[in-house]
Amino acid sequence: MSNQAELDKLVRSEYSAGFTTSVESDTLPPGLNEGVIRFISEKKGEPDWVLEWRLAAYKKWLEMKTPTWAHIHHPPIDFNEVSYYSAPRSMADKPQSLDEVDPELLRTYEKLGIPLHEQEMLAGVAVDAVFDSVSVATTFRSKLKESGVIFCPLSEAVHEYPELIKKYLGSVVPQGDNYYAALNSAVFSDGSFVYIPKGVRCPMELSTYFRINEAKTGQFERTLIIADEGSHVSYLEGCTAPQRDENQLHAAVVELIALPGATIKYSTVQNWYPGDAEGRGGIYNFVTKRGVCHDNAKISWTQVETGSAITWKYPSVILRGDNSIGEFYSVALTRNRQQADTGTKMIHLGKNTKSTIISKGISAGRSENAYRGLVRISPRAENARNFTQCDSLLIGDQCGAHTFPYIESRNPSATLEHEATTSKVSDDQLFLCRQRGIDPEKAVSMIVNGFCKEVFKELPMEFAVEAGKLLEVSLEGSVG
């Protein structure tokens, strides 16, 4: 068989997280109006000010238009076809411990490789498990409490830490920031809230695992992480969804606040259902992630994006404080008919600020993969530095890779470096591997993993292994 045919076969594969969980759910009928927002707010028993905040966002959203600048194509989304709230019925009585959680839900996470019983879990990783619109369980909370770390669903934080929420919610991504952020601000459901006190190094990795289950529902989680002065936290995020023929909407907002001297490391392995080989189904992933760095603080985004029919996502850093550091490490793999338009924004405001961008795009099948990045140096950002490296790898000849780098420098003392390459998994590389007895499948995944090495080494250990495997699954063939 020719290498090309082999490659074509390889890049089609099955999605292993595509199962559905059968639980009875309370699901809102599709449609979006003020009544829906009031319903969500009431379900969560929110104080009035949160409801007002949502309604204000909704008003803004109504006046906004869908953005059209990204290199993606899809039929218009009918926002009245989406259900904005769905929760397993068993969660209505607010289980107090894991023993009270529907075993069917626990089994779902187990099947995904994330056991929620603390004794079975990876030591050193605390998990918040979000299922459709609600948090099912958050592990190791009491242990984290001992060091003053708060890790809980945002819906709880609204009640228990209202001052922090009032101060920081929407402070990095304002309600009207963009179309999808406005929508999220109106209808957001659960997500995680993290607070690390001054000078504390969070004793475990924190992670949130997002699962969309119910048909025709969207997921609109919101995550807020505050690292107080001199603190340190590493946070991981994973996501999957069942295999369905229709598209499902995911519009999340993540806000990070790194106070002076703090470090936040935020890693994502995004494996939402990507749709089938013909482009039917899959998640539309429109996400706004942004962090702000105060003096001497550091925010590092690492993402491995392998799923979703459409990915529209630009984890960014506002380098407000002097000597602050922003990093973005990304692997985006698209195959079949997937489309990704992803990258970052590094906004240099402070003096001696430094940013690094390493982006690796891998396109296969008939997919489209775009890197879009902005580096902005403000007039007062003396001695700002950016290094950008942007590499594309093509598998086959029907896919597309694009780079859209934007550089706006208003300070002549800035040092900006930009490197970009495009390469192919060549027949020669594949033949060398096969001549050494290596399966073509294994060969492609080895070549792709090699290409991503610089990004994978930024992931926490357990995640690096998972990410490597994910690329293997994504590329492994013979199921064709």
Partner: protein, 249 residues
Amino acid sequence: MLEVKDLHASVAGKDILKGLSLHIKPGEVHAIMGPNGSGKSTLSNVLAGRDGYEITSGEALFNGVSVADMLPEERARAGIFLAFQYPVEIPGVSNMEFLKSSMEAIYTARGQEPLDAVTLLRKAREVCKLVDLDQQFLKRGVNEGFSGGEKKRNEIMQMLLLEPRLALLDETDSGLDIDALQVVAKGVNSLRSPERSIVLVTHYQRLLDYIVPDFVHVLAGGRIIKSGGKELAHELEDKGYSWLEGHDA
């Protein structure tokens, strides 16, 4: 070991090999010489199964089985090793990782227990030493940023570790200085054994001073036009290929 009978093969629709026959027994070392463009690399690639190199008639049997019926990786696992004329880079994939995948695939196919990590590393270090390659090369990406000579030695290093039954060395000598040539020759000679066959594809007779072949063949126009013992190489050196022009074996 290898029986090539009246082989015709084309590359990208162009007929290159036009009735080539060759018989190689276990333990033998054959040299195939010929001018540039005569089809030497084509022969190696056809035997190893590179995409686009097609057998149009005739056959090549490896231990009695037609190679045409085997995928490239199956040929490799059966013991055919090709040391490339132009080894390609695989950035980010360490030599060690590559060796491990290769060794596992080949050992498993042979019904042999794959080496454990410690043994593999020890063995890899030994073979690196044999071809005068620093151990650091095991950590570097496959051929990534290697000099021409280092790439060639890296090929021989892999060959020594994988211990093939039939080794095809495609111009492994070109681009090597005399010291490197001797190192490579020492490596290849260490692999000579009664069960193993070696085919040296070369443009120059120089290599044959260090690896003495049992037979020498001259390839021109897609066919073997003359075969002989090791003296033939010296004759070629003196008289040039034009001496044989129009000559039939």
